[in-house]
């Protein structure tokens, strides 16, 4: 046994409504370790559950006391995380006990990828993570910050780490929102080695906060460090938007958090968003000036699809490239509304064709018909074509099929 301060500890939800999770309690004692296991899936997985629990106790060198596990169909990566958290809470020390690596866990990250939708999933709710990769969101955010109560931060951190290892997130960008301050650095230490593509840093008010996160991550990962997406959610953050967006080369996008911002402004968040207009527009300008993507806040009424559609149109109209989602239902609506119109696509296709032609002929300037087209317009045309392909209104082979 480790030190003298081994104490009783427990973790995980309790009660008849729990699904796909488990509760575990540890009671120290002098006698050989007893594992008291009840599970509603014991007839299929009783032995597998016990083996998972013992994997963690062995790694922590625990040989005495009593572990009481009440399982409600938790998957193995959840069991491992819950047991590890319980033992750490009791004062024991040991290594990270990782689940089997999922196919797709090593998926590469892409700086310029589409970030139209990002789905927030609370970091303490494994049940919601299991299918997270199925909904086609451009990004999945495993959230360690606002959706996790303070008492569950340690458990969520280990769950999120294991979820990065054990689950296949499909084509979605693997994102994690960390906590502010010291807790955030603990979050980074836990997840850095498990291929998070992009880390969201909350409540950024100064470039130094971004620099610090980047430095910590480079310490763990070197050049392969994850990208950063600072969240501006205070008047001060908005005020320093450009410096933040340009603070480090690992920043790929800047987003805005309207709930916290409205609170600090002392102006209630309205549907029209008049109170946040300048903040949103400033975020877009700062991001574009720094060459990163501006990403809009979430829309919180999941029942109101028309309201969401109007919100996406409005934010896209301001120049935002993406929207936050709090329910999978919102994803198709966001993608539909982020998809360019037929006229936009037609024009973008003409520009992209002209640009490719100019490149082939070695011409410096691009012309559509008799009109010259400036480089930013060309860049925007490429972006529009990508969005159109992703939104399903333009065939991926549009260029080859028509030539």
């Amino acid at each position: 046994m480790g030190g003298p301060e081994i104490k009783a500890a427990s973790v995980g939800p309790e009660g008849v409504r729990v699904r796909s999770d488990l509760h575990i309690a540890f009671e120290p004692g002098p006698d050989a370790l007893v594992l008291d296991l009840t599970s509603k899936v014991d007839y299929l997985y009783g032995e597998a559950i016990e083996a998972a629990v013992r994997r963690v106790t062995a790694a922590f060198g625990l040989t005495t006391g009593r572990l009481t596990v009440v399982d409600a169909g938790a998957l193995e990566w959840v069991i491992l995380a819950r047991v590890e958290t319980c033992l750490r809470r009791s004062g024991l020390a040991g290594p990270a006990v990782l689940p089997e690596v999922a196919p797709g866990a090593a998926a590469p990250r892409h700086r310029e990828r589409l970030r139209r939708s990002r789905l927030y999933i609370p970091g303490n709710q494994p049940k919601l993570m299991i299918s997270g990769g199925l909904y086609g969101a451009d990004g999945i955010i495993l959230d360690l910050e606002d959706s996790v109560p303070p008492a569950e931060k340690d458990g969520a951190r280990i769950l999120v780490r294991n979820a990065l290892v054990a689950l296949d997130w499909g084509g979605s960008e693997r994102m994690v929102r960390i906590n502010q301050g010291a807790a955030g650095e603990e979050d980074l230490a836990a997840i850095a080695g498990h291929n998070p593509h992009t880390v969201l840093v909350p409540k950024v008010e100064a470039a130094a906060q971004v620099g610090r996160a980047a430095e910590v991550l480079r310490g763990f990962c070197g050049d392969g460090a994850p990208f950063l997406m600072p969240i501006l959610e205070s008047p001060r953050g908005i005020h320093n938007a450009f410096e933040i967006a340009a603070a480090d080369p690992s920043v790929v996008a800047v987003t805005i958090g309207l709930e916290d911002l409205s609170a600090e402004l002392a102006a209630p968040r309205t549907t029209e968003g008049t109170e946040s207009f300048l903040a949103r527009q400033t975020t877009v300008y700062a991001a574009r000036a720094a060459g990163v993507q501006p990403i809009a806040s979430v829309f919180s009424d999941i029942e109101d699809e028309e309201g969401l559609a109007a919100y996406v149109r409005r934010e896209r109209g301001l120049g935002f490239d993406g929207i936050g989602c709090i329910h999978p239902r919102q994803i198709p609506v966001v993608h539909r509304e982020m998809t360019p119109s037929e006229a936009e696509v037609e024009r973008a296709v003409r520009v992209v064709r002209a640009a490719r032609e100019a490149e082939e002929r070695g011409l410096g300037a691009v012309a559509v018909g008799s009109k010259m087209v400036d480089p930013p317009v060309v860049k925007q045309a490429f972006r529009t074509v990508n969005l159109a392909v992703a939104g399903g209104v333009l065939d991926a082979e549009w260029d080859s099929s028509e030539n």
Binding site: Y43, Y45, S131, P328
Partner: protein, 517 residues
């Protein structure tokens, strides 16, 4: 006592004797074609009944005494009042007071409210139950506490069993939301309105004695007459036949689960992309959260493509009624009504037709509607790599659901199981189903949140969606993903004591439910 068992045509061990009667083991789809004549009750003469048509007696107890309730009889009820039913329990409470023993209860389905029967099973008033058992009754039967074997039949199979004389009903008690003194009855009016009484139709025609119990007696004639008084012996008026709030719901709720909605949406898109959803097509969808969401997504696609369904088979709900009223469906053929909008529509709209297991499902008839439906969407507890389906037991072998119309609906041109790939770590796609309820050759498509598996026998469907961006995957591939995600499950040990049998639509025994400790 060890039951004598034999292997049936599906390779399943089944008892050769079911409650004292030789049973026919399953012989494959369409393999069993019995000859002989249908059963019938004794001839009655109208002179033995009141010429003024008034068949009322003072109480259910008096009625049961008058028709001669005695030891060993078969007593039937219907389940249109669902969990609000008060009559099913009252019959056996009265029987207990009368000192009658060894009855067989033959409901078209039982509900948790019928946990009351456990004391009558314990005391010997009821010998055994033939009908779906879930909740406390399912647990009771699964634990091997019932004296006889449970017999689980589909809605169509129940009609077949009555009609073929496998089950001879001595006394049918029909709870009727509205009736007249002659025994004409319907389910569309009255405080306990449930829409229709189709599940009681066979009972009214084939039972030796028929008692109608109502809490809404109207002057003769009761219109419409879904049950004909000419089949009825006695009429009883009571204060209440059931709790309306548990008979139909005010509104039916769509599932909010993102996974279930994804399954529903994939299924609807499959119908569109496979060309099933075309002008004049037909579908069947029940009131479960996922199938309700399926109907909603299907309606969206139908609207977008300007397609109209000639008919839909329900389980009707508010949503299906809205589709009828919008013109997306031309006719509803309704087997049971789940909510108040369904009841209203059936009462007021001639395009909303009540049906019975005879018209919809009976395998021993001159055709039935089930095989004429283009697509039926159903649930399941398990489906295996051969596409065999289980709908009655949990993976540990405990009885969980009745069969309902599930087996019958498999006759549709395309039958689809809409299931999550696993539930709380318990895989739904398995190597071999715990209890075989539907043979794989009749199950065409399995839709999960992780992808759609098409039965390789349905090359036509595989071709129809070839090149679509639907996530079509071999079923083994889905199973392999589950093995990785959930872990390979251990094989639960089962006892060798049968507690119930599952009948196939033709009356043969397709599988056995074993005791679970």
């Amino acid at each position: 006592m060890a039951a004598k068992l034999e292997k049936n045509g599906a390779g399943r061990l089944v008892p050769v004797d079911v409650n004292g009667r030789a049973s026919v083991p399953y012989q494959g789809v369409g393999g069993y074609r019995p000859e002989g004549r249908k059963a019938a009750p004794r001839i009655a003469s109208c002179v033995d009944y009141p010429a003024d048509g008034d068949k009322r007696v003072g109480s259910l107890r008096q009625a049961l005494e008058a028709v001669g309730l005695s030891d060993g009889m078969v007593v039937s009820t219907h389940h249109h009042l669902r969990n609000g039913d008060a009559i099913g329990n009252l019959i056996f409470d009265d029987a207990a007071d009368m000192g009658v023993k060894d009855l067989m209860w033959f409901p078209s389905a039982s509900f948790p409210v019928h946990a009351n029967q456990i004391r009558h099973l314990d005391s010997g008033v009821i010998h055994h139950i033939e009908g779906s058992m879930n909740g406390p009754l399912g647990a009771y039967c699964s634990a091997g506490k019932m004296r006889g074997l449970g017999v689980l039949r589909s809605h169509g199979g129940r009609w077949q069993a009555i009609q073929d004389g496998e089950v001879h009903i001595d006394i049918a008690v029909i709870a009727a939301p509205t009736a007249d003194f002659f025994g004409n009855a319907n389910g569309v009016n009255g405080p306990a309105a449930c829409g229709l009484l189709g599940f009681a139709l066979a009972d009214s025609v084939y039972a030796e004695k028929v008692i109608v119990v109502t809490d809404n007696l109207v002057p003769f004639p009761c219109l419409p007459w879904q049950i004909q008084g000419n089949n009825v012996d006695l009429v009883v008026e009571v204060d209440s036949i059931g709790d309306p709030t548990k008979i139909v719901s005010g509104t039916t709720r769509l599932t909010q689960s993102p996974d279930r909605r994804r399954i529903a949406q994939l299924a609807a898109r499959f119908c569109a992309e496979a060309g099933i959803m075309r002008d004049g097509f037909s579908f069947q969808a029940g009131a479960g959260g996922t199938t309700l969401a399926f109907a909603m997504y299907l309606a969206e696609l139908m609207r977008a493509e300007g397609v109209t369904a000639r008919f839909a088979r329900g389980g009707s709900t508010q949503h299906m009624v809205e589709m009828l009223e919008e013109g997306l469906i031309e006719v509803i053929l309704d087997g049971q009504t789940f909510d108040l909008d369904g009841v209203r529509s059936m009462r007021d709209d001639p395009r909303h037709q009540d049906t019975s297991p005879f018209t919809s499902y009976n395998f021993h008839g001159k055709g039935n509607f089930a095989s004429m439906v283009d697509v039926a969407v159903l649930g399941a507890t398990e489906v295996d790599l051969e596409f065999n389906g289980n709908v009655v037991t949990h993976s540990d072998g405990r009885m969980l659901h009745g069969i309902g119309g599930w087996q019958n609906c498999l006759a549709a041109r395309c039958s689809m199981l809409l299931v999550p790939s696993f539930r709380d770590r318990i895989p739904v796609i398995v190597d071999e189903v715990t209890t075989l309820c539907g043979p794989g050759e009749l199950i065409d498509v399995v839709v999960t949140e992780r992808g759609i598996a098409i039965n390789p026998r349905r090359k036509d469907l595989l071709d129809a969606v070839d090149g679509s961006d639907l996530p079509i995957r071999p079923i083994n591939d889905l199973k392999a993903e589950l093995d990785r995600l959930c872990g390979v499950p251990a094989k639960p040990v089962r006892s060798d004591e049968p507690v119930a049998v599952v009948k196939w639509v033709d009356g043969t025994v397709i599988d056995t439910v074993w005791r679970v400790d």
